[in-house]
Amino acid sequence: MNPLVLWFHKLGSPPTFYRLAGRLLPWCYGLALVLGAVALYGGLVLAPSDYQQGDAFRIIFIHVPCAWMSLFVYAFMAVNGFIALVWRIKLSETLAMAAAPVGAAFTFVCLVTGSLWGKPMWGTWWTWDARLTSELVLLFLYLGVIGLHQAIEDRRQAARAAAFLALVGIVNLPIVHFSVTWWNTLHQGSTVRLFGPSLIDARMLWPLLTMALATKFWFAGSLLSRARVDLLELEGGKDWVRQVALAADAAPAPPPEASA
């Protein structure tokens, strides 16, 4: 077999993934913490006040990265769901289902911080406009995926059913993204652009992008951590799980993330 394919197959085997994820975990969290601290210093201390919004705009440094993550994690979940449905790869099922709670958390933070930003700037906590409503629908999609996954007894069937729901829900992603251009909304348009110059000062842009990177690493850490636990549950009867369980018992109270 082609060595690359062989490596891929090996990575997809639960015990190998479990060990590798355990080794990567502390690095993901460590990098996220360092990047997050730098971004916070840049955003809360170094960046100047906004000429219109004063210091209230500083919510942007968590609101926008969380909003980006809510879409990114959904796409990640849907891609893994697709692989799980087509090729029946157990690891993809696990990754898709492990991503759902993390995505829901980011979506929740995005909605709450948006509300806390909307009150002083728009004079209202909530309004049923296109961007806010479609983001709320995204949260419900995440909750639907989690709920469906919990509701079916057979774990692998549950994962495939939930993956299918995740795939259907992907139509909502462009709606969230383009809602500010398609409809007249209270929400402001994009200030950071991939194509063309961003409508934001460089002193505000770099903390924002750094925080976006930090949330990516935090997601990676949480995802790996969750996938590891799910694999232990899924493969409960296998020999490698037995070894992990006995090793964890032999060393009482190990640091939760360090042990492999």
Partner: protein, 58 residues
Amino acid sequence: MSDFFAMGGYGAYVWASYAVFFVVLAAEAVLPPLKRRRVLAGLRGKWKRAQRREGSAP
């Protein structure tokens, strides 16, 4: 320093936002290792019970 915490009068909104962000993401990191410990303890209990059943069988 108090200027920093006041955030130009928007302190409550800004710090509440950051508090939600930190609490949710911290929970995101803390919960899976706790569940891992619970799952492993549950598996060990299951094996022990199975062993005892085998041992007591005539």
